[in-house]
């Protein structure tokens, strides 16, 4: 079995447990073991855009160092915010000698780091290493007739230097949905920000974005939305439940992680923890009765 270094980040151990569990399950089905790196720490969630403060780069860089010291040359992420901060800190180290030296001089417990690790998102493992054919071979419950809206959000594709797909026309989710036997839905808000961390102190902004994004998906015929971001998932799912209270005629649409969709297609629905979702996806995925009878 192929083994890859894996960085989970905070959400996958808590609010996005279904994301991690489904990823571990489908990886195992695909013959890949996700080796969680030891002593990982918070990525910082948002990349620092301030030129003079290098302190905020230390968190992400230490994770790359841990992976390297365990003998890996690649590090895989699932959460798109972790993916973004790790990749951008790595890009900084690889392209700015002056800042790299300053950071290395500051860290005295670790050996110097110069960007040896290649940070990759799990979608890159599927698309570039395993290939869609391999995914297709594992599908035992094809998602026939299910219309899935691919929601990329911000952090998977931007900025261009580290994005895993064309920021104006990403297709990796569409390719995945097709491999699982589902139908990708083209919708206008696939890369529009959900409001992100404004959900803490300015919920109105997030409610409005939730209305726009989920409404855009359902009007385009989507049965559900997939994402790779635990913050997008929280916002679009939980805030949608609030939206429903205020606007009963809102047409709810479930929001799930792409690995959960894979687990359904691989006939492993129980790992998904769908019961924890505010908008229950089980009905549109036709797995309500299956859960009790199967694996």
């Amino acid at each position: 079995m192929k083994e890859v270094a894996y960085y989970p980040g905070c959400s996958l151990k808590d609010t996005a447990k279904g994301f991690e569990d489904s990823a571990i399950q489908v990886s195992s089905d695909l013959g890949v073991r996700l080796k969680e790196i030891d002593r990982w720490n918070c990525c910082g969630t948002v990349y620092s855009l301030t030129d003079d403060n290098l302190m905020k780069q230390l968190g992400p860089i230490r994770n790359m160092i841990r992976a390297r010291d365990e003998g890996f040359d690649q590090l895989y992420t699932l959460c798109s915010m972790c993916d973004n901060t790790l990749k951008r800190s790595n890009y900084l180290i690889q392209n700015d000698d002056d800042k790299r030296d300053k950071i290395n001089n500051f860290m005295d417990q670790e050996n110097d780091y110069s960007g040896e690790i290649e940070v990759k998102h799990y979608l890159q493992l599927l698309r570039d290493e395993l290939g869609w054919e391999r995914v297709r071979e594992q599908v035992s419950n094809p998602l026939e007739g299910i219309n899935v809206a691919p929601y990329y959000g911000c952090m998977l594709t931007r900025p261009k230097e580290i994005g895993l797909a064309d920021p104006h026309n990403p297709t990796v989710f569409d390719e995945l949905i097709e491999s699982l036997g589902g139908t990708p839905v083209d919708f206008p808000y696939e890369s529009e920000c959900c409001g992100s961390y404004n959900t803490v102190d300015n919920q109105e902004v997030v409610l409005e974005k939730t209305r726009t994004i989920t409404g855009g998906a359902t009007r385009s015929g989507a049965d559900l939305i997939i994402t790779a971001c635990p913050l997008c998932q929280f916002n679009l799912d939980t805030r949608q439940a609030e939206l429903l209270k205020a606007t009963p005629n809102h047409d709810p649409v479930p929001v799930i992680y792409f690995t959960q969709l894979m687990a359904v297609a691989f006939d492993r629905p129980r790992v998904n923890k769908f019961e924890e979702h505010a908008i229950d996806p089980r009905k549109v995925l036709k797995i309500e009765n299956k859960v009790a009878s199967k694996r």
Binding site: H168, K209, L231
Partner: protein, 127 residues
């Protein structure tokens, strides 16, 4: 127009914090056209940049940089390759480095919020 020393002070500070040349912007407005949050903002992103170009310190009172979530929509759209979110961050940082927090923990209902939301919010909005 002629910039005096006081105007230059703001511009220099923002250029230092962001690493961006603010005069590289030619005000095409593409950042504002693509920004998903303009309805909530008191100044459009390109207006924020314009005020910075004029050294207008009133830009530090604008709500716009606090609504900007660094989604980078403007950054990938900018024909000059300017990093508008870095300029927004520089404006936030000028306030935060005066020890002024934009959010106060005691005013928030944090129950049920995931850590990813809290960490990112506090990193952007507290000093």
């Amino acid at each position: 127009m002629q910039l005096n020393n006081a105007d230059r002070e703001l511009i220099d500070k923002i250029e230092e914090l962001s690493g961006e040349n603010v005069f590289s912007c030619y005000q095409c407005g593409k950042c504002s056209a693509g920004c998903p949050f303009t309805e909530e903002m008191d100044l459009l992103p390109n207006q924020v940049i314009r005020k910075v170009q004029m050294g207008d310190v009133s830009v530090l009172q604008s709500e716009t940089p606090w609504i900007c979530a660094s989604c980078l929509s403007c950054e990938v759209d900018c024909p000059k390759g300017n990093n508008v979110p870095a300029i927004m961050e520089a404006i936030r940082e000028i306030s935060l480095r005066e020890n002024v927090d934009k959010v106060e923990l005691k005013d928030l209902k944090t129950r049920g919020l995931p850590e990813i939301a809290l960490v990112s919010n506090f990193r952007k909005k507290t000093s």
